[in-house]
Symmetry: D2
Subunit: 255 residues, 4 copies
C-alpha cells in the first residue's frame, strides 16, 4: 500500500549559510526526499516555509499519510492556524516525524504540552546513538549503535512528557546523554522525534540515519484517518448488539 | 510541612440550578474546602470564575502548591492568559487536580495536547470505581472499589495521551468503561484527573471520594517550585566536578 | 514474508466435556488454525499437551515466529524445562499470544514476575470489549467495541506489571472491568494477552475476535530472532568507528 | 511513622579483597547502615549471605518494610526458597532496592522475567548520572547530575522490561549510556534499581548517592502489606453496596 509522505523543511539556513549549502546544496528536504525515493512504496512531495500556506494547504495535508518536519531558526514564522491544521491531522491519524531542532517547533510543543527545552552545545562533538529497543519497527536493521563523528549536543534534561517508547539514547563526547529517539501517540496519530540532523553535519546522508527515518515512515503511516473526535453523546437506549454466532444461545443468561 | 491548596470552581450551576443548590448550597468549592480542612497540614483557599482574574492572580498562584479545578459549562469563559499562567506554574512544579468535567477545561487540553473528548450520558446510572493500583499514595485507604449509586457516565474512548498510571477504572451500568483516575507528569508538575463529581450528585460528600482527593493533594504537592525551564546553553569548557570523597583518588584513570 | 505460527492448546476440556465438544469438536487449536489459514502469509501448525515434549521440541520452537497459547486446567502439567525453552525463544524474539485462562500459564507468570491472579465468575454474563487504542496494528479494522453475549468474567484487580499498551478494556454485566487486551515487550519478544475465549462460548468463531488474533500475529512476528543476550564484556580499547560520509571531515573536533 | 529497613549484603569481597577492605572495612552493609542511621525515622538491621537462611528468616522479612540488596559474586549461592520468600513479600508490598551488580541477582531476574544482562567494563572510568525526573520523591534534593570520578561501566542494552520511570541516565567516559536509576511496581511492591556502587569505589560514602538511597527507602515503604493475592472467585450474587449519602435517592434510576 502506497504511503504519501510530505517532507517539510523551513529551508532558511541553506539559502544564507555557505557551510550549510555545501552539505545540503538543494536543501535538507531534497536530501530526505532523495533517500526516501529509493523506497518504492513511498510517494514523496516536499513543502517549505516560504511557499503559500507554507506549502501545507488543507488539500496537501488531507492527502498526507506521514509528515516529516525540519525547522530551526524560523519556528515563530510558522502561522498558528497552519499549526492547528497539522494538529487536527495528527489527531485524526497522520503520522508525524520531527527531526533535530524541531523539538522546539510549534507543532511539537502543541502536542507535548511542555516547554520541550533541553541542554545544548554546538562544538561538533561526537555522538553515539545506542539502540535501547532492538525489535521495534523503527530500529529494524540498525546495529547496536550508530556513530556520528560530529553533531550538535542535545542533552538532558529534556522537558517532555514521558515517552511511550525510548528507542535511542544518545551519548555525547562532552558528558551529556539524551533521549534521542522517542515515540508518542496523540489521538490516532503516531509521533516520532529523532534528534540527529544539525544543518552543518551530513547526518541525512548517513545510511543508518536514512534507514531509521524510512522505518519510521512505515511505522507512523495510519491504516486510515479518522474523523475528528468530538465528545459523543450516548443516549439512554443502549442498543445491545445481541447477535449469536451459532444461530442460538443455549447458555444461561446472567441476572 | 504545610501545603497550600487553592480550590477553584467555576461556580455557575450552583447559582442557577435548584437541584445543584440542594446538593451544594455553598458551591462545590466550599464542599471540597470543608473536607480538606479536616487535614491539619493543608492551608486552603478558594477561587471562582467571577472573581477578578478568576481569583487566580500571579500572587495567588505563586503561593499555591496544589490547585484543584472544577469546571463544566463555562470553560470558554476562562481567559487564555490565566490559562498560560496556570500552565507555567504546573511546569514549575505546582500540582494540579482536575475533577469530573474539567477533562474539557482549557488547562487540561493545554497540558495533554489532544481533544480530551469522551463518550457521555446523563441518566443517573450506577458507577463502580475499581482500584487498579492499590499501593499508590492516592489509593491508600481505599477498598477494592467505590460504589457510586448515581453518576454521569463518562466512557471510552477518552482521547488522552497514555496516562503514566491508571489508578481507577470506572464501570457504568449502561455498558461503558472509563479510565476514571489517571496521573501525568508535565514539566515538574504532577497532574491527577479524577472523573467523579457531576454537579447533581453528592460525590464530594462521599468519604471515600474525599479520601482520594485528600491523598491526591499530598501526592501532587511539590518539594519546591523550579524556575521556568529554558533551553540551557552548555558552553564548551565542560567543568568536571572532580571531587574526591576519600581525600585522594588511588584508582587508575581511564583513557 | 511468511510467518510461521504454532498454535498450542492444552486440549483437555474438549476430550471430556460435552458442552465444549459441541463448541469446538476438533479442539480450540483447530478452530484457531482454521481462521488463521485464511491469511495467505501464515504457515500454521498446531501442538498440544499430550504430544511428546508437548509438541514443542527445540526444532519446532526454533522455526516458530509466533506462538499462540491456550491453557486452563492443566497448567501444572506443562514441564518446567519446556517453559524455559519457550522463555528463551521469547527473549530472542519469538512473538507470544496468550489467550483467556493462559493468564495463569507458567510461561506468562514467568515473563511477568507476578501472581497474574484476578477476579472471576462463570455465569455466562455479557461482555463488551472497548477499543482504547484505535490506531494500533492489533485493533485495525475493529469497531468501537466488540459485544460478546456470554463470557466468563475476568475482573480487576489483575495482578500484572503495568502493560506497555492497553488496547481493550472489558466491561462485564455483573459489575466488573478488566484490562482485556494488553501488550508487553520482554527481551526482543512481543507479548499480547487477550482475555476472551472461555471453552464453552464460541468466541474464536466470532469474526472480530478472529481479526484481533490475526492482527496480533502480524504485530508479534519478529524481524529476526537474536542470539540469547548475555552480559557483554566491552574491553578497554573502545573502537571508534570514525567513518566519514563525505570523504573528509572539515569540522572542528571537540576536546 | 517508623520504617523497618533490612540491608542485605552478600559480604564476600570485603573478606578476601584488600582493595575492597580499604574502602569498606566493615562491609558494604555497614556503610549503608551508617548513613541511613542518620534518618531518625528508620529502624535498620543488616543481614548477610553466610548467616543462617542468609539472615532472611520469615520473621525478619515479615517485619521488613524495605529490603536493600547488594550482591555480586555469589548470586548463585542464594537459596531458591529464600528468593521465593522475598518474592512473596515484594508482591505483598515490601519495598525492594537493588544496588549495582544486584541487577543479576535471582530476585531481580525473578521479578523482571528477562535476562537482565548488560554491557560492562571495569577500568575505573568516570560516570555522570543525569537526573531525568527532578520532581520524583527519589530525586528530591539532587542537583542536575551526580559526578562519580570512577565507576564500573554498565551500558545499554540493558535487557529489562520497560521501566515505569527512568529517574537517572548514566553517561560513561568510554562511550556508553545506561538507565541507571529505574522504578517498577510488582504486585503491591515498589522496586528501585540504582546502578552505582562497585565494591572498589566509595560511592556509598558520596552524600548524593546516600541521599538517593535514603529517598528511595521512604518512597518504597508500603502503607501496609497485603495478603498474598490469589485468584478471587466472585460469586453470582453481586452485592451492590447501595448506600445513599443524603438519606434518599431522588434521582431517576437507569434501565
Amino acid at each position: 500500500m502506497a504511503i504519501n509522505v510530505t517532507v517539510w523543511n523551513e529551508y532558511q539556513h541553506e539559502k544564507t549559510d555557505k557551510k550549510v549549502q555545501q552539505v545540503y546544496p538543494e536543501g535538507i528536504h531534497e536530501a530526505i526526499r532523495e533517500f526516501l525515493d529509493e523506497d518504492g512504496e513511498l510517494n514523496i512531495q516536499t513543502a517549505t516555509l516560504d511557499e503559500p500556506e507554507h506549502g501545507l494547504t488543507q488539500e496537501v495535508l488531507e492527502s498526507t499519510d506521514v509528515l516529516i518536519w525540519w525547522g530551526h531558526m524560523a519556528h515563530d514564522a510558522v502561522e498558528d492556524d497552519i499549526v492547528e491544521r497539522i494538529h487536527d491531522q495528527v489527531l485524526r491519524g497522520m503520522g508525524l516525524i520531527l527531526l533535530h531542532s524541531s523539538h522546539y517547533s510549534k507543532i511539537f510543543k502543541r502536542l507535548m504540552g511542555t516547554t520541550c527545552s533541553l541542554r545544548w552545545r554546538e562544538v561538533g562533538e561526537r555522538e553515539r546513538l545506542w539502540v535501547v529497543d532492538p525489535n521495534h519497527p523503527i530500529t529494524h536493521g540498525i546495529p547496536e549503535y550508530i556513530d556520528l563523528p560530529h553533531e550538535e549536543m542535545y542533552g538532558e534534561r529534556f522537558d517532555i512528557p514521558e515517552p511511550e517508547k525510548i528507542l535511542f539514547l544518545g551519548w555525547f563526547e562532552g558528558g551529556e546523554v539524551f533521549r534521542s529517539g522517542i515515540t508518542y501517540t496523540r489521538g490516532n496519530g503516531k509521533v516520532f522525534y529523532f534528534q540527529p540532523g544539525h544543518e552543518t553535519y551530513p547526518q541525512y546522508k548517513n545510511p543508518l540515519i536514512q534507514k531509521v527515518i524510512t522505518n519510521a515512515v512505515h511505522w507512523a503511516a495510519p491504516e486510515r484517518k479518522y474523523p475528528k473526535y468530538e465528545a459523543f453523546h450516548a443516549d439512554n437506549d443502549v442498543e445491545w448488539d445481541d447477535f449469536d454466532y451459532l444461530g442460538d444461545t443455549p447458555f444461561p443468561k446472567f441476572g
